[in-house]
Subunit: 395 residues, 4 copies
Amino acid sequence: MSTFGKIFRVTTFGESHCKGVGAIVDGVPPGLALTENDIQPQLSRRRPGQSKLTTPRDEKDRVTVMSGTEFGVTLGTPIGLTVPNLDQRPHDYSETDVYPRPSHADYTYLQKYGLKASSGGGRASARETIGRVAAGAIAEKYLKEAFGVEIVAFTSSVGKVAMPFVTDLQENDVVKPEFYDFLNTIDRETVDADITRCPHAETSEAIKEVITQKSAEQDSIGGTVTCVIRRCPVGLGEPCFDKLEAILAHAMLSIPATKGFEFGSGFSGTTMAGHQHNDPFVRKEDGTFGTTTNYSGGVQGGISNGENIYFRVAFKPAATISRDQETTSYDGVWGTLAARGRHDPCVVPRAVPIVESMAALVIMDLAMQQEARRGAIARLPSIDIHHSLLGQPPK
Amino acid sequence: MSTFGKIFRVTTFGESHCKGVGAIVDGVPPGLALTENDIQPQLSRRRPGQSKLTTPRDEKDRVTVMSGTEFGVTLGTPIGLTVPNLDQRPHDYSETDVYPRPSHADYTYLQKYGLKASSGGGRASARETIGRVAAGAIAEKYLKEAFGVEIVAFTSSVGKVAMPFVTDLQENDVVKPEFYDFLNTIDRETVDADITRCPHAETSEAIKEVITQKSAEQDSIGGTVTCVIRRCPVGLGEPCFDKLEAILAHAMLSIPATKGFEFGSGFSGTTMAGHQHNDPFVRKEDGTFGTTTNYSGGVQGGISNGENIYFRVAFKPAATISRDQETTSYDGVWGTLAARGRHDPCVVPRAVPIVESMAALVIMDLAMQQEARRGAIARLPSIDIHHSLLGQPPK
Amino acid sequence: MSTFGKIFRVTTFGESHCKGVGAIVDGVPPGLALTENDIQPQLSRRRPGQSKLTTPRDEKDRVTVMSGTEFGVTLGTPIGLTVPNLDQRPHDYSETDVYPRPSHADYTYLQKYGLKASSGGGRASARETIGRVAAGAIAEKYLKEAFGVEIVAFTSSVGKVAMPFVTDLQENDVVKPEFYDFLNTIDRETVDADITRCPHAETSEAIKEVITQKSAEQDSIGGTVTCVIRRCPVGLGEPCFDKLEAILAHAMLSIPATKGFEFGSGFSGTTMAGHQHNDPFVRKEDGTFGTTTNYSGGVQGGISNGENIYFRVAFKPAATISRDQETTSYDGVWGTLAARGRHDPCVVPRAVPIVESMAALVIMDLAMQQEARRGAIARLPSIDIHHSLLGQPPK
Amino acid sequence: MSTFGKIFRVTTFGESHCKGVGAIVDGVPPGLALTENDIQPQLSRRRPGQSKLTTPRDEKDRVTVMSGTEFGVTLGTPIGLTVPNLDQRPHDYSETDVYPRPSHADYTYLQKYGLKASSGGGRASARETIGRVAAGAIAEKYLKEAFGVEIVAFTSSVGKVAMPFVTDLQENDVVKPEFYDFLNTIDRETVDADITRCPHAETSEAIKEVITQKSAEQDSIGGTVTCVIRRCPVGLGEPCFDKLEAILAHAMLSIPATKGFEFGSGFSGTTMAGHQHNDPFVRKEDGTFGTTTNYSGGVQGGISNGENIYFRVAFKPAATISRDQETTSYDGVWGTLAARGRHDPCVVPRAVPIVESMAALVIMDLAMQQEARRGAIARLPSIDIHHSLLGQPPK
């Protein structure tokens, strides 16, 4: 369905050629300063047409806050968000009347819904992500103000070109300290300084070459986005089905064109020995607990432990390419789907703010769920029993 | 929370040292032949103590169907399932009173819930998965009878030892035909014929060596489970947030000890070119549509397309190891958590039925959601408009 | 929260003085002919300012379908609906800065959300109901086309003036046949023919007198709306917590200013003897089953039985009156909240389409839930066992 | 479905003739002292066979806490509850093989689920309510300890015999002060002192006569239960669809045999004038706000205001009577369903703890939802703007 979250809930609408897209964000805490200016930047980062590396179509997505605020402050009531579609012509892909596009959603939407929209895959359009990004910006603003949470995503690979220390684990079974340092310090300005959104100069140059080459070949290429969530409160995640990583995975795999998700040591961690992979606890200077390594990726038993949460999302090469493709028509006849127009050879840089937004929605909703529990506990007389007195629990 | 699914809904209870574990399965279609005998086999496959490669503790988990059936047929009412805990002693880990176990859930549960159970991580215990597996067996039985769905999972890697053709994609950018053949034919008997549940003799032998070595070293090792869903109906998955792969990812990452999920081409697919990665459509002999390759993993636009759905899940090395570990006590003092007992060096073989069960729950719930839509469409007068007549839609 | 329904889901936004109100309707079956013209009539019936009996403010609510349709047909994707607020001035009730209005939501909203909107009660405003009515019109159109469902509500009482045979039960323990006849035939045209929406000339005249008198007294008066749902499919309602009557009650009590709900024999039924109250079954000419009386109100065991569903909703006298009222200021000082403007003395006639809309949302969602079950049953091999063969089950 | 609540969630299972009934209660705050002894009393109050006025069958329902506690304290994990069925014979109603019982759920269950259980109406059995009552006892214990909430229900009418001041409103448009006093002081001991659970001697005597007479006539009679919730925290209820009264109505109408719900002034309030019905605010000695009258029933704008919440629930005469009944067989033949056994002539006294339990579940879940918001607000920097400074908001 089109709703995400339990307490902080986002519901989106809109496809490519209708009047507009948008979202309703329910459960926003009242008293948060919020205007369109808090939302627009992430929408602009998501927008196509930002550079020669991406598709030239400039959609100029301007968001309007329809409800839920007054004098620039949230009321606690649902926030309606709308973004008009400038191109509302219902039909622009006549060739796709004949052929379901390979690895697109044309065929499955027809099968599921029994009819065919002009846009083919309907809500599979990247335009659907506008509502998520707008909603995510609200979540992010709250998390920043309430907890100091910082969420930063970046391009970690395109094709076979990958940032070195981010993926080194596979080779020598240990994470390099520079990776942890990097996760602690990377920020959006640094990410946006380069058009590829890969914050590693050498890798970025190589990525540009790959994308340029694919563009010249009327082809596309995939890649991965890595994301870190810093200063996430301890205790988020709702076992057993709504573990933090489960909700994150759900959120990430709901983004169009994704193929995989891993957090912490991820797939690489499967090759490690337990005694290496276990993260010893350490008491930090401020008295709180941390871990000396962070293969856990900030989550243990489905619950955040206060360390950086980091994860990686795989994006396939865009299905829309500027090449002729052989495939079968709706009539069942093998033939050639002719190329039309120019398309974005690599969606990965644009996916960066989408990943951040979905991460914010996940943390926000889990944070409010934990507030419910924390508040409920606080009203009980404190219990003086064996359980809670096994050593003084760390603050 | 402890509920999974929207129409076919599973709610579980129970941790290690309470009186029992179990589940309520709501939304089961009435008229399905069902007794304990349909559920027990998967529980027994999940059970520890099956071989010298796994933990010796034999829990003998026997399930009782408390409600929802009569004369061996489901009534459509909730099915209550209980499995007694034979070891109900509330306390068996005294050392863990002093130290939160590294990479376990002891610390995060204490932080989240404000108290500490005997079992440490409470519901993070593998015993929690009994309810899922029992519920999954019911879903699986229905899917088999209604659609002929077949779900088979197997150990695809342990440590650095991996089945060859399953992971070849990374090397030469194409999937070998033998991989597709394998997915079409692998069955549970073959999987269970080997103690490692890796259905590839050479790999299995190497895996046994790895596990034996880790056992000797009082260490543990991770691995991956690959799963295929065959004959999944076309049209399952609920865009935009409840895409089939998003719900699958949610389900898989809710299993204890998981670190990653990928479906279809997965992370490897990110290095491919679009023109290679796109799956051309082809009309099959029976008139339905298929694809010549299957990098999509049976899902396009978040919706099943009728091809095999396949995915891989990463499991970390078990956090519980039979070695001393240096870490910090609840009091904040660095010290040594002494090893106790013998533990399963590799959870991957036991995870196989858990992965299958969660897959069954996902497909079952999405299938019922699509029945709601399909039924609703069927009651409308058929529409004779442009949309639906672009060629005869494939059946 | 602001979402209603499980499969057919409505989420609304908007309060009195923001830019607009609206809704997202998710889960709409694809292939339904739908334009603004299908929605506007109910919005116009809901609108204030329709007569001298109601508030003079003319809001001219025009709905725009933002998404989810193409060429006038639903796509199965979410339908975004917006209605602009013509009066977007954030502040028009300065007196209410000083006093929380008695029996309004000013005080409770302040307590709940920690701040105070210009509109006082925020979403407690009647304007919030626009989204429901728009969504309900979509549900209603589907139900009409798919099942021939007819939903008609009407004013059954205002103050102490009540339609005679609708309430006779209390006097002589039997329902008059004319009541059943009336439920079978009443239609919206007849209801709308009179400004009070009470389709009983004598009662309507008396109601007009009551309202005119209350208006002259700058006072307000409550009343009840009775609603009948005809041709509801058999089998709707999801025991045990989501019985049809439970969801209906939830829906109705979520309408502003409601105080009670009863269905079938309702409160009057509590005084009857069981042998009178039980509805004998009868086989109808078309072979289906019905009942000779209908104290059950079309629902047995929480599930529709095919007979007319009828219920009654109580509305309190509007809290906003054109009289001075003594009460306490936010500062805690007893004083006089001065009357301002002219207000609708009786909301009951305007509530009629709101009741119908909520009823449509309830039936629509439960119908889709039952489609899920029905479809799932149909795929199982038919069972030839004792249960289902106790006599031939009625079709 | 069989789940109630969003954060504090109850899922139940079980029907009359299966192995047992029970519930899973998820979201219980950790740290609450809880054993079977906290749950059993309400189960025993619900149990049939308590007196000659009710059915003689003694089920001796003993609850077992399967999980979620340790050393008598809740862990925050799901609490599994089971109660065995002593009478597990799958078939005891052979006559009902031939006739669907009038106003029972036999017919609708058959239509909905496509098969027929021995028990006829499956989950429509009163035995289903055991799970609710057990879960409600947990909610109630928490609410008592955390907020001092008190919930007391009682029989307010049976047949035409009604407690005088509880229903006087209809006669003279004002509530008598003794009604408010009564709501403030009534307790369960007083209620249970009389077998009818009507805490008004004169009325109780008359009720006993009515029930005795109905029993002699092999007939049944309905009635109403009134319930008061005292010391409910201010701010509970989630507009717009999950208003407190809407969730209460949902909860109450999900109880078997209910026909109506009203809160505060209820249906009687519809006949009042607004200036009478509005509840003026008053600052109480402790500085908090209250109202001088309470026609609002403790809820304004869907949100609790701190005053007593009171409501009334209508129960129909039990459908099962010890008389022959003329009706139609499953085969469609009109005939006589012969009376069998002796049955409870009035379910109202037994419904009292069920009403209390459902009320507790409603308040508990809404309280935790409000904790989520309250906690989230508290983490924001306090806002110093127009909205929140309109007078000092009452504490």
